[in-house]
Symmetry: C2
Subunit: 219 residues, 2 copies
């Protein structure tokens, strides 16, 4: 396809495409004349990946370059290429020693294979600390275990649908999936709360015409 | 306990306690003299609940008053009192008709008992729309089903640990649990990704001294 079609199909402005070409983030098309080149679906896919990294993940150009390099370097395993994208999604201060030990033990208990310096361990430690300052997780270790099992099922389904044959598509998938699926999961959790609360604690649900339930089953 | 102890144990400043008493958000103590009263654990619990609603949920005073009223009105079911707190946690524009129909059908497919005007339905619709603009949920309806099942398990464990005998404690629990547990779940999901990715796509995990794995099992 010509540049005009690439711009239209990818939704990326001409100036931006030219900038990416100049910076080497987008590979050149096949030259058909001195000032003309043709592009293919790989260019569309690359522009889509850059857009995801920039707009969804909020990465800076240097970070995007790092992710693209990891994708293109076949000596980097897919796991490490995904890890490179993942690390750019998280940030935060380093863990103190006590929190590091606690999180390492938790991963050991769960038998999860996680790098000790993973930023998500810091996120987990900070989130648990915040909950403790308000009295701790009600349900305690048992509820935490349920959380871990549920998230492992979610991650199994997600990683299982990663297109492993195409490294760029895999990274696009992981970034979009990791970030954009978060509000889906959280909204579903709130809706599930409502469903279970209505079944357990009864009371009418405003707006469900006709089917109002006044009994209050105790469980 | 005297006012001095109430202030110390609850960590709430005197001026704030007096303000809550004046506004009726905090019930009066038992008068022991013209200018003296004693307080008990119910006052500590109430101050903790107000703090959670204000600091964790970011509610304004009028919203806090609404939640407290729902808790105290025994003609309101626990489900509706929790729903009142829940609604204050979410906000957003109303759903358009197409999204409303789609979300209603999704809840019907899942057999979830959810009020049609629930703000979480709007959050879910918006999150799914955002994912579609980046090519849709990879794994599609099957992954969405896994999400729903996992979140239902999470919600079962959470609702199961709600202290139903004490309505104020129940609301505190739901607000703290709903908001503060979100980053716990999201961090666990990212860690589970790492675990599964490392097992499926191999590659060493930097920082695990000694135990570097160079084989890359294919599954």
């Amino acid at each position: 396809m010509r540049m005009a079609e690439l711009i239209e199909r990818s939704g990326t402005p001409l100036a931006t495409v030219k900038y990416y070409l100049r910076e080497g983030l987008l590979h050149p098309g096949v030259a058909t004349a001195a000032t003309r080149a043709t592009y293919d679906d790989s260019h569309i896919a690359r522009l889509r990946l850059i857009r995801v990294l920039a707009e969804v993940a909020g990465m800076r150009l240097a970070q995007i370059r790092g992710v693209l390099t990891a994708i293109e370097d076949d000596s980097v395993s897919l796991h490490d290429a995904l890890g490179c994208a993942h690390r750019c999604l998280a940030a935060g201060p380093a863990l103190d020693e006590a929190a590091r030990v606690e999180m390492t033990e938790l991963m050991h208990t769960l038998d999860w294979n996680v790098a000790p310096q993973s930023p998500a361990l810091g996120e987990l430690a900070r989130a648990l600390t915040a909950i403790r300052s308000f009295g701790g997780l009600v349900g305690g270790a048992e509820v935490l275990q349920t959380y871990a099992e549920a998230m492992h099922q979610v991650a199994e389904a997600e990683v299982g649908s990663v297109p492993t044959a195409d490294r760029a598509a895999a990274v696009t998938h992981v970034v979009v999936g990791t970030l954009l699926a978060e509000p889906v999961l959280l909204a579903l959790r709130r809706l599930a709360h409502q469903d279970i609360s209505s079944r357990r604690f009864g009371g009418q649900i405003a707006g469900t015409e006709g089917a109002r339930r006044s009994e209050r089953p105790q469980t």
